[in-house]
């Protein structure tokens, strides 16, 4: 909690609440970002990280936090940046990303 406060005061941005759910072949990331215009959300996808930024309505946050959301979300495994779907509904951004196929080699057990 203290770390989050430090990041917020250093960057002057709001760190939104977020949640990552892992399924067999994808990660479903949701970010609570009320007061944002859909077309102003900047979403960048990296090897195993999502970078999200968006200005929020100026009357919402206090002066303490600024009025921009910014968050970097680390994912446990590499993802496929070409297979990403995002939507913004009821103030929640949902990003669905496919995991990169593993390179495991099948070894016969003798």
């Amino acid at each position: 909690m203290r770390l989050i406060k430090e990041v917020e005061s250093r960057t002057g941005c709001i760190m939104p609440l977020y949640n990552v759910v892992e399924t067999e072949d994808m990660y479903v990331v949701t970010v609570d970002m009320p007061g944002v215009k859909r077309d102003e959300i900047e979403l960048q996808v990296f090897e195993n990280q999502l970078a999200i930024e968006a200005p929020c309505r100026s009357d919402l946050p206090s002066r303490r936090y600024g009025n921009k959301y910014k968050v970097l979300i680390d994912l446990p495994r590499p993802i496929n940046p070409e297979q990403v779907k995002a939507r913004y509904v009821q103030g929640v951004l949902e990003v669905r990303v496919s995991k990169k196929a593993g390179r495991g080699v099948r070894i016969p057990v003798e």
Binding site: M1, D32, P34, V89, Q90
Partner: protein, 255 residues
Amino acid sequence: MKPSFVEKVYSDFVFYDKLPAKVDKTLLVGFPDTGLVGAIAVSYLAEQLKPEEKGYVDSSELPPIIPVRRSEPKELIRIYERKNCVLIVSEIPIPPAFIRSFSESLLDWVEEKKIKDVICLTGVTEPRRIEIETPKVFVLSADVKRSEELARVLDAEVFTEGFVTGIHAEILRVGMRRGMDVSILLAQSHLNYPDPGAAAQLLNRLPKLVNEHVDVKQLLESEEMVRMQLRDLMRRTSEAMVQKSREMELPPVYR
């Protein structure tokens, strides 16, 4: 607070109140947990109905925090009284290690005060919450017939399968063992995000429950601000919920 409070010590928690010896009203509680649904509902209720503050709950296990509301320092867990109900408003989640003793203490106090029944307001995690405009409300009572009766009256559904965990589950369990009238109302909600929309669904049922009407328009209009303001409480609550889930070896969901 003033020395006229009656002090009653139950294990780790002390209840100080100015309530009469026989209350005979419904107790509404909503501690911070899933989507802060219950906490938002009872706080909004207290704000709108302006009930009389009648006491507080104290414990050495509570953190050294003093909430300030309109320049007035407040207790962390407060007891209010209205014509038809008693409310408990908590600013913090009950520490997971003390959920059990708090629940026992609460229901000792309920018995002592001859409170008619206990209704816990909370949320139940709905993974597809963003696709739902009007969350459903479920009822779970210590007695199945009571669940069915409440569901009928409140235009809700009986909670039939799954898990309910956390403070409200423990209050229900203790009530069940003691043969007390304890129920939980659960609205479909986000797990980790404050959900005023779900709280509004519970508040809409109150007229039929305790004959108290609150207009949820203001809550819904300020939904974005409420979500923004409650981020810190949600973070603290999520940490407590995850801790409790780990202890129970259940996934961090409430269902």
